[in-house]
Every structure is written in structure tokens, then in C-alpha cells.
């Protein structure tokens, strides 16, 4: 389905369309485009079975730059339209590109329903914590107190965490990466591609025009090791240049930072990450950690299995066709109560 049959595998360049890329110079979107094209080439995808669907926003310009099928839809509705695409033709490889406004604000309802249904769609959420295309209003993911054009005295709304919301909605796969973390991002995208149901990838993306530096407190190379923590399945949750600091939950399920080698703490005291937890509680505890006080969790936050929606829908149709597929149109039209005049 995603590999062309008798053709040489495509290169990253083959995934570039002939359209000029029109994001602002320096925009984080470029890095994501690059990572996606690279990942698609590595995954051996072909062009014509791949569909990239987006809403409206700077990020949602994405499909124009991909030499695949593409649908730039309307604001917030891409998850619904993509659901139609995937259910109608499960053989297509459907990717959805959306922004924090597109997905969390106007599209919030479609977003949560996509996740709970577990439609086999891969969602790349470009979270720049701002409305880019409409020139810089705060978004549902903007930090409280943010001064923007529409909030001269600071925003009041408590920010929404896409990961927490997705957990609440029953997401089966959640990954997180950063626009400038090329190989990391590529890897998370490839993990998402391998997931059977809905795979959400939150990507922190710098909007250098309206929200420059939003992620500087943990994105910069020099502090990355201290300020982010990579969640690896089956491995202890450690971070820091020397990997000697770890995270665990205390009795009240509050996260705690511990230093291995101090106060008798060993690696065994650190929580071992299990992306396949039945309960979303652990991921929730991590998603809800304060960004200021804890390292930012990256990698795969959740990866569990539930049948993909489109498969079950089509299976019902197949069953019905096996059982009653021989009904002729004429019989259907006639119905049970035909009479003649």
C-alpha cells in the first residue's frame, strides 16, 4: 500500500512539489517539511497513495509543498474530511497537518472525535502557540498572560495541552518532538507511521514572526539535555548531560526529579517508561508537569492498540455483503409489499 511496486524507492527530493514554499524565512515549518519528506522517503512511501490533508493556518499550507495528493480544506475541519477519506478508501495513507488554532480552537471537536474513533490517520500538530496566519493572536495553547494583538493586557485563558486533551479523548498514540530536532522528529514521525490507529504527533514549532523564542527555554542545543526528557519504552526516565537525573511519581502521583547517586537513589528508583500502559494515568501525569519546573517530555508518550475505525466500518459492510450481498437492486426496489394494478 505505501510502497510502489516495481519502481525504485523514492528519494526525499521526489516528495517536493513544484510549488514555491511560502512560509516566512526562518519559520519552523521548513524543518518539519524537511523531516516529513525525509521520513516518507525512508519509509518507502509512494506518491499516489499518500494524501496530505490540512485545515487553515500557516502550517496548513503544507500539502502544497508535497508531491503527493493534497487537500487544503477549511479551518478546523480537516479531521472530519480526512475521516471520510480514510473510511472511504482505507488503502490510502492519510496524513493530517494542523496548527494549534486549527486543531485546538475551531477544530477541537473533530480532533477529539478523531482520536476516540482511532481512525488510521497520522496527525502532525504544529504547535507554535500562536495564530500565525491571522497575524498573531493568542491561541488555546498560548501561555496565560500572553500579550498579543487581541490581549493587550495579557491572555486570561488557561492553556490547553494537546497531549492531555488527547489522553482524555482516548488517543492510542501520542508522540512529541520539536521543529529543529531533525533526526528526533523524523524518528517520531516514522513511529507514528507505523501505528495502526490515529497517531498524534505534537511538534513544537517556532513562529519567528509572532511568537519567536516560544520554546527557547528547552529547545536550544546547550540546554536540551537538561530541559527535555526522552521517553523510551522500557527504559528508565532519565535526563541531563550525564543522564543522571530521573523522574518518578510520588505517592500522590506528583512527578518528582531525583538525582541518581544522591541520597541513595539508584536507577531502580527512577520510573521505567511504558508507552503501552492500559491506563492513560501515567502519561497524564507527565503531560501535566509544569514546563518551568520539569524537563519537557519528548518521544512517544503513548502507544496502545485498538482496532482502527475504518477497518471495522468496512468489515461490517463486508459482513453484510457476505450475508445479504445477493440482494438485487430490483428486489430492494420492490420491497416486501409489492402489488400490481
Amino acid at each position: 500500500m505505501t510502497t510502489a511496486s516495481n519502481q525504485a524507492p523514492l528519494s526525499k527530493k521526489d516528495f517536493k512539489s513544484d510549488q514555491d514554499v511560502r512560509w516566512c524565512p526562518g519559520c519552523g515549518d521548513y524543518g518539519i517539511l524537511n523531516a516529513v519528506q525525509s521520513a516518507f522517503a525512508k519509509l518507502g512511501k509512494n506518491l499516489h497513495d499518500t494524501v496530505v490533508i490540512s485545515g487553515i493556518g500557516c502550517s496548513s499550507r503544507f500539502p502544497y509543498y508535497m508531491e503527493t495528493f493534497g487537500f487544503h480544506t477549511i479551518h478546523g475541519r480537516a479531521p472530519a474530511l480526512a475521516t471520510g477519506v480514510k473510511v472511504a478508501n482505507p488503502d490510502l495513507d492519510v496524513w493530517l497537518v494542523t496548527g494549534d488554532g486549527d486543531a485546538m480552537s475551531i477544530g477541537g471537536n473533530h480532533f477529539i472525535h478523531l482520536l476516540r474513533r482511532n481512525v488510521g490517520i497520522k496527525v502532525l500538530l504544529f504547535n507554535n502557540r500562536i495564530y500565525g496566519l491571522t497575524k498573531g493572536q493568542y491561541s488555546p495553547t498560548s501561555e496565560q498572560g500572553k500579550k498579543t494583538k487581541s490581549t493587550p493586557m495579557g491572555s486570561i485563558d488557561h492553556p490547553m495541552s494537546p497531549v492531555s486533551l488527547a489522553l482524555g479523548a482516548g488517543a492510542t498514540f501520542i508522540g512529541r518532538s520539536i521543529d529543529t530536532f531533525g533526526p528526533h522528529l523524523e524518528n517520531v514521525i516514522m513511529r507514528a507511521a507505523a501505528h495502526e490507529g490515529t497517531a498524534l504527533v505534537e511538534i513544537y514549532q517556532n513562529c519567528n514572526i509572532f511568537n519567536d523564542g516560544a520554546f527557547d527555554s528547552f529547545r536550544e542545543k546547550s540546554i536540551r539535555a537538561e530541559r527535555t526528557v526522552e521517553l523510551e519504552h522500557g527504559k528508565p526516565v532519565v535526563f541531563g548531560a550525564d543522564s543522571n537525573r530521573g523522574l518518578r511519581l510520588n505517592h500522590d502521583l506528583q512527578p518528582e526529579i531525583v538525582t541518581i547517586g544522591e541520597n541513595g537513589i539508584t536507577e531502580a528508583d527512577v520510573m521505567v517508561w511504558d508507552e503501552a500502559d492500559t491506563s492513560p494515568a501515567r502519561a497524564m501525569a507527565f503531560a501535566a508537569m509544569s514546563e518551568a519546573d520539569f524537563p519537557v517530555p519528548l518521544g512517544i508518550l503513548r502507544n496502545t492498540t485498538r482496532p482502527a475505525f475504518e477497518k471495522e466500518v468496512n468489515a461490517q459492510v463486508q459482513t453484510a455483503q457476505q450475508n445479504r450481498g445477493d440482494q438485487k437492486l430490483q428486489d430492494l426496489l420492490n420491497g416486501p409489499d409489492r402489488y400490481t394494478i
Partner: protein
């Protein structure tokens, strides 16, 4: 042709009279099973070869408190031995299961009408719930009606003495006693109902099946033995209907069959995206039972998701359909605009109900025509079709799919509450005689092909190429931003925008060349043309037929195609001195006609949540004829 019933031709058997037509109204509590009773009588009557039309009228509440006025549910059936067009206005027979039903409906029974009352429910508490100060059975207010009083509860319980059912379940059978009585009165065949009861209940609950069957028969016998009615009546087969195979069909059913037929004829599966809403939900229900015909139904989280999912499915090469009612259509406007811009086929079915806002959800109206025409931002032309009767909904749905696929355009189909739940006999089409719908997906592009252009068009229909995902070499990007001609790339070029605006407009206008000329009931010239659309067809045809004998030069015409109008409509209207446009709104078709043809059409509107009655139209036409004579 129309005659006072119960005064019909005397039949040979002393106790049997033949009638041309009968109108029965069953009215009772929401819990009394009036809709079921009505549909059983309807089905039996259809099988006996009468023409018929029905009008169900039920409350918004699921089960309003028993015995109250808002809880009254009614079902009207008109059947005949000739071609009829409407379920009629005043009934000949009113069955009232309780005082509330009596109170709500008695005004419409003519004084010599037959009134069958369930006396079991005329206790003081019942009267109070129905807000009767006095007992109408006793205060003389029913004088003049031919009242038949029956204690349906007692008789039902007596019949079911031996049944193992509990009291409540037995009580529930009483509607079948009334049905049995009416079967005797109109010489209907009891068998189909007995069979239907078996089919419905025998497996799940044989005791209930048995009880109901006993009670129908008991009701029949009771009427027979007691001589409660002096005479029984017959209505013979309708003779002026075209011969062929028929079934009785409701509008929502017919829509579903039309969609499935178009699916088979185009070899494309249906994808329905829908969100439940009265009175459209039954389309979702019915289509979700057609999975064996390849139909996918998707109950979305809201109307916007429903239309977007259908559009997504259309993008992949399926027949995308979405169904809703007025408030839902209001929500879908933005997404329909996206379908206009991306030029993808899509069928949007709007079963209209009374508005504005939530309005009166269970009542009918035709006030969404302008919303269908104009309810989107920008110049966003969409073909609009309207089903003109329950059975016509089949052809309308079929045509909508054809137009959507042939012209690569969203199409809006308007139906309404009266069509959705009303029923009439339908001359079942022969599958092989239905036209084929040809669909050409663009084939995979090879290296040597001329460059692929997603917005290249069929020069005749102006339909753009349908290049579905999964086809090698046809990768392209579409979206809601204005498209450059041919390439479909984003374009802000002023001339291109004007050009594409005109292409979209002309494409829809050009559909006029693929639809039939409109025809008239009555001659195609004269004094007054009654011009309607959608469900006004019945009353218009009825009015024209009613006026025919008097020699008045009145014809009728009812549009199934509203955007574009049939090519001959302008000329047709000019051949009449006056065009009268009756609508269940405040003049919406009238606005379109006056604007386009600059004809001083007279608008006649009714906004009561009810269909037009034939006699209302006759009266209005008479006024106009008088004016014309002055």
C-alpha cells in the same frame, strides 16, 4: 370525481356501499400506537390497489405525559379508486382514543362525520388532563356527529382473558381493536396485518404477536356482529393509475432507494455522513441497513463533520451524501462552499421543517429554499432540486446523484416533513430501465501523457477532471483558495478569479440542458398558472383537477428542478395571464421567479407548519380569476 363519501353509490348487498374515496384520521396518545395503526391500514389499503396519500402528525415529545393535549399523535389516510394527490384536509372518520385527541381534532371533522370514541378514557381525570370542563360525551357538544362509542379497553381485555400478558401489555393492544373495526367498516383484508404482526413480534415475543392478532380479529368481529355501523363500505381499486407493480412508500424511504439505485447505476458506493435530526434521521437509519449494497454510513459528531466526511469520501471517488434538516444545513454552508470551490460531487439532502431556529421540528415547511440557494459566503452556485411527493423523492435523489457526478458539483435536494413521513403508492421502476450514470475517473498518467491538469474540463458539461487519490501520476493539490484555471494552483489573479467565478456559474446554469422541460397539469396556456415547487405538487394538482369540471382556465406546474430552472419555464409562464406561486414560506420561489423573469407573479404563502389544502388554492385562484375579469 370527488364525492361526499358515505353517501356513495348503493352497492348490491344491502349493507355495503361503494365509495370513491375515504379520509380516516386516527388520533390518540403518543403511547397509543396511532402511527402503527395508520401504517397498517395504509399497507393493507395499498395492497388492495387503491390510490392513497398519508399525513402523519406527531408531537415533538417522545412520550408526552399521557392524556395531555401536546401528547396527541395523529395519522391521516386518504384512499380512493382514482388518482389523488394529497392526504386531504377534513377527514370523514375520526378515531379518537382519548379526550385530548378529541379536543385537538374535532374541529376538523365535518358535522356529519363519523366519530369513533374510546369511552374507557373519558373518566374525570382524563377529561381534566385534556382541559375539558364538561364531559363532551354528555354536554351535547358532539351533537350532529355520527358518534360511535366503544370501550376499547374493556373489549380488549375481554378478548385477551386467556393471554399470559400483563395488564399494561394487554392495554397496548387496544389500537388493534379499533383497527379491526375499521377493517370491517371498509371491507379491508385482515390477513396482511396478521402476517405483519407475526413478522414483527413472533420471534421476539410470540405472546404479543398472538394477542395483537386476536384483538384485530376481535375488533373486526365486534363490528360485524354488533351491527354498530349500519352499513359497511368499499372503495374499489384505483383504475386511472398506470398499470404496473406498486408499493406504498414514504418520502425518506424513496430518497434512500433513489440513492442506492444511482449507486448501482454509476457503480460507485454511497458514503453517507450524517448527524441525526428530525425529520431527516430516518434516512440515516434506513441507509445504515443497506450495508449489503455497499453503503457506508458514518454518524458524525455534528453536521459539519458529516458534510466534511462526505466530501472527503467524494474526493476518493465515492458518492458522498449528507442528510439533514434546516438548522443543520445552516451549519454546513461553509463546507458546501469548499465543495463548490474544489468542484467535487456531493449530495446534500435537506428535509425541511418549520423554522426559524429550532422552530417546530416535527412540522413541515418550505422555507429553506433561499438558504439552499444563497446560504454560503461568496458567489457559490449550487444546483437545487426538490422532491415533489413521497414517491418522487426516488427520482429526485437519483437525478441529484447523476447531476453531481456528471457535473462535478455539490447538489442540494430539498424535501420536507410532509414528504418525509407521508406516503403514497409508487410505481416501482424496472431496474433495467433506469438510465446509466457514467463516471470517468482519470486513468493513471504515464510519462508520455500531456501534463495532467486537475481543472481541465469537459467542454460540454464544464465538469472538471475527477482524479482520485491512489491513481499513479495524478498527484495534485486542491483546496478552498481560488484556483488557477487548468492547473488548480492557488491564484490571486483578478482575471482568473472572474473567469473561474463565471465557469462555476455557467457550469451550474448549463445543467438546464440535461433536465426535462417542465410539464403542466392541464393545458399549457390559460388564465392562471399555479406554479409550485416540491411538496406543493399534490395540492396544486388537486386544485387544478377540482377546477377542471368548471371550465376555468387554470393549470398547474410544479418544479423538481429549481436551480437551474427548466429551459421552458419562462415561455410557459408567459402563456398565462397570471402566475400564482403558493409556497409554505413567505415567497421564496416567488423571489427567484420575479428576479429572473421579471413577471409579476402573485405569491401565496402559508406558514403554519401544515401543507396547503386543495380548497385553499381553489379559493385563491377564484379570487384571481375574478380580478382578471374586472
Amino acid at each position: 370525481m370527488v364525492q361526499d363519501p358515505h353517501n356513495g353509490t348503493q352497492a348490491t348487498d344491502k349493507s355495503v356501499e361503494a365509495l370513491d374515496e375515504v379520509i380516516i384520521r386516527f388520533a390518540g396518545d403518543s403511547g397509543d400506537g396511532m402511527q402503527l395503526t395508520g401504517s397498517q391500514f395504509t399497507r393493507t389499503t395499498a395492497l388492495m390497489g387503491n390510490d392513497l396519500a398519508t399525513f402523519p402528525d406527531f408531537p415533538a415529545e417522545i412520550r408526552a405525559p399521557a392524556g395531555t393535549l401536546p401528547g396527541v399523535s395523529a395519522f391521516q389516510l386518504r384512499f380512493s379508486n382514482f388518482d389523488i394527490h394529497t392526504p386531504g384536509n377534513q377527514p370523514h372518520v375520526l378515531v379518537a382514543m382519548n379526550p385530548a385527541a378529541l379536543k385537538v381534532h374535532i374541529d376538523q371533522l365535518p358535522r356529519d362525520g363519523l366519530l369513533i370514541l374510546n369511552t374507557a378514557k373519558f373518566r374525570p381525570a382524563d377529561l381534566k388532563k385534556a382541559k375539558y370542563a364538561e364531559n363532551p360525551l354528555e354536554d351535547g357538544s358532539l351533537d350532529g356527529y355520527r358518534v360511535v362509542q366503544v370501550d376499547l379497553e374493556k373489549l380488549t381485555h375481554e378478548t385477551l382473558k386467556e393471554s399470559p400478558l400483563d395488564k399494561r401489555s394487554k392495554d397496548r393492544c387496544k389500537n388493534m381493536f379499533a383497527l379491526g373495526m375499521l377493517y370491517w367498516l371498509y371491507n379491508r383484508d385482515v390477513e396482511p396485518t396478521l402476517k405483519a404482526l407475526d413478522d414483527t413480534f413472533a420471534k421476539k415475543n410470540p405472546d404479543i404477536a398472538e394477542a395483537n392478532k386476536q384483538v384485530v380479529k376481535a375488533g373486526y368481529n365486534y363490528a360485524d356482529i354488533t351491527g354498530l355501523f349500519q352499513t359497511s363500505y368499499t372503495v374499489s381499486k384505483a383504475t386511472d393509475l398506470p398499470s404496473g407493480s406498486y408499493r406504498n412508500i414514504m418520502g425518506n424511504q424513496a430518497l434512500c432507494l433513489g440513492l442506492v439505485a444511482a449507486s448501482k447505476k454509476s457503480n460507485l458506493p454511497i458514503f453517507l455522513g450524517s448527524y441525526p435530526i428530525t425529520p431527516a434521521s430516518d434516512i440515516l437509519h434506513q441507509l445504515s441497513g443497506y450495508k449489503n449494497h455497499g453503503v457506508i454510513t458514518f454518524q458524525a459528531e455534528d453536521e459539519i463533520a458529516a458534510v466534511c466526511a462526505a466530501l472527503g469520501a467524494a474526493y476518493t471517488g465515492k458518492i458522498g451524501v449528507t442528510t439533514t434538516s434546516g438548522p443543520g444545513l445552516a451549519l454546513k454552508g461553509e463546507a458546501i462552499g469548499l465543495a463548490v470551490m474544489t468542484e467535487l460531487p456531493l449530495v446534500i439532502i435537506n428535509v425541511q421543517r418549520s423554522g426559524p431556529s429550532t422552530g417546530m421540528p416535527t412540522k413541515t415547511e418550505q422555507a429553506d429554499l433561499l438558504q439552499a440557494m444563497c446560504g454560503r459566503n461568496g458567489e457559490s452556485p449550487v444546483p437545487v432540486l426538490a422532491a415533489t411527493s413521497p414517491s418522487d423523492a426516488f427520482a429526485t435523489a437519483f437525478e441529484a446523484v447523476r447531476i453531481a457526478l456528471e457535473y462535478m458539483t455539490p447538489v442540494i435536494v430539498l424535501s420536507d416533513g410532509a414528504i418525509a413521513n407521508g406516503s403514497e403508492p409508487w410505481l416501482i421502476p424496472d431496474e433495467t430501465e433506469l438510465p446509466g450514470i457514467s463516471v470517468n475517473f482519470l486513468p493513471a498518467a504515464t510519462e508520455t501523457d500531456e501534463p495532467f491538469m486537475p481543472y481541465r474540463r469537459n467542454p460540454e458539461t464544464l465538469a472538471r477532471n475527477w482524479a482520485i487519490p491512489g491513481t499513479e501520476g495524478l498527484q495534485h493539490r486542491i483546496g478552498g483558495i481560488e484556483k488557477a484555471d487548468l492547473t488548480g494552483n492557488i491564484s490571486y489573479d483578478p482575471d482568473n478569479h472572474e473567469h473561474m467565478t463565471m465557469v462555476r456559474e455557467n457550469k451550474v446554469a448549463g445543467i438546464a440542458n440535461s433536465i426535462p422541460d417542465v410539464t403542466t397539469v392541464g393545458p399549457d396556456e390559460g388564465d392562471v398558472l399555479i406554479l409550485g415547487w416540491g411538496s406543493t405538487r399534490g395540492p396544486i394538482a388537486g386544485a387544478v383537477r377540482a377546477m377542471e369540471p368548471s371550465g376555468k382556465k387554470v393549470s398547474g406546474c410544479c418544479l423538481r428542478y429549481i436551480n437551474p430552472f427548466p429551459n421552458n419555464l419562462g415561455d410557459l409562464m408567459k402563456r398565462f395571464k397570471r402566475v400564482l406561486i403558493p409556497e409554505l414560506n413567505r415567497g421564496q420561489l416567488s423571489m427567484l421567479i420575479r428576479n429572473k423573469y421579471l413577471i409579476d407573479a402573485t405569491s401565496y404563502t402559508k406558514v403554519q407548519g401544515l401543507p396547503f389544502y386543495t380548497d385553499e388554492l381553489v379559493k385563491r385562484v377564484d379570487q384571481i380569476l375574478e380580478e382578471l375579469q374586472r
